[in-house]
Subunit: 107 residues, 2 copies
DNA sequence: TATATTAGGTTACGAAACGTAACAAAAAAC
DNA sequence: GTTTTTTGTTACGTTTCGTAACCTAATATA
């Protein structure tokens, strides 16, 4: 049985650096560029690129407020919010199975 | 609220090219190197690398059969099988929301 | 007029990840 | 000794990524 192209495309999208975290961050509600950026150590260049990809996929919408200085808000579409189930399962699995090495292990 | 390190690590792992597909493939049962490789267009070099990372994380085990020629079988651990829920949700979301552009669009 | 301020990018450039293709190991068959 | 087969490994060129400098636009300040 060969791999479903929809699934392959989804894997290809989520299998990109930072994409999952950007979506997870936006699940907490609409946020501006600088707020997303503050959530984890992504570079501005890559965040721009990832948001553009997510916008092209119909997962995120971009809204510009012509204030001074400009404010740009990103929010999930219905398609984007549907990813909550995926992110939720990743969090669930991580809490059950992931181990983190402490920065100062004794003995 | 800051990002849970376990979740961040999980995202970092699954947010690598091919990792999700390798796990998905192994959910169908133990498979040898060449079988996994045939499932999608990953290079041998990267498949070696990804399998080593998954082994280091305790998600996959590697078993060598000293036959001629050698046979190497990879299988998911309990931690790896627990990713079934994540992969399942990705497949679910993909079927509900992903659009695939046809190779020859009429109009 | 000129300069400063600020968010959200964009660009140039070096570093890391990736893809391709040639090669290596090992053991048995010929 | 040569061939065959699977599972890698290495060399090398391409793409992606990270860092830091720069740009834009509107307003405030000097």
């Amino acid at each position: 049985m060969s791999l479903c192209p929809k699934v392959e495309k989804a894997m290809q999208l989520l299998g990109k650096r930072w994409t999952g975290l950007v979506v997870k961050q936006l699940l907490d509600g609409p946020q501006r560029f600088s707020e997303i950026k503050a959530g984890f150590p992504i570079s501005g260049k890559l965040l721009t690129e990832r948001l553009k990809e997510l916008e092209d996929e119909g997962i995120v919408t971009r809204k510009v407020y012509a204030e001074v200085p400009v404010r740009v808000e990103y929010r999930l579409t219905e398609k984007g919010r549907a990813l909550q189930a995926v992110i939720g399962e990743i969090e669930h699995w991580a809490h059950d199975w992931m181990e983190i090495k402490e920065q100062a292990q004794l003995n």
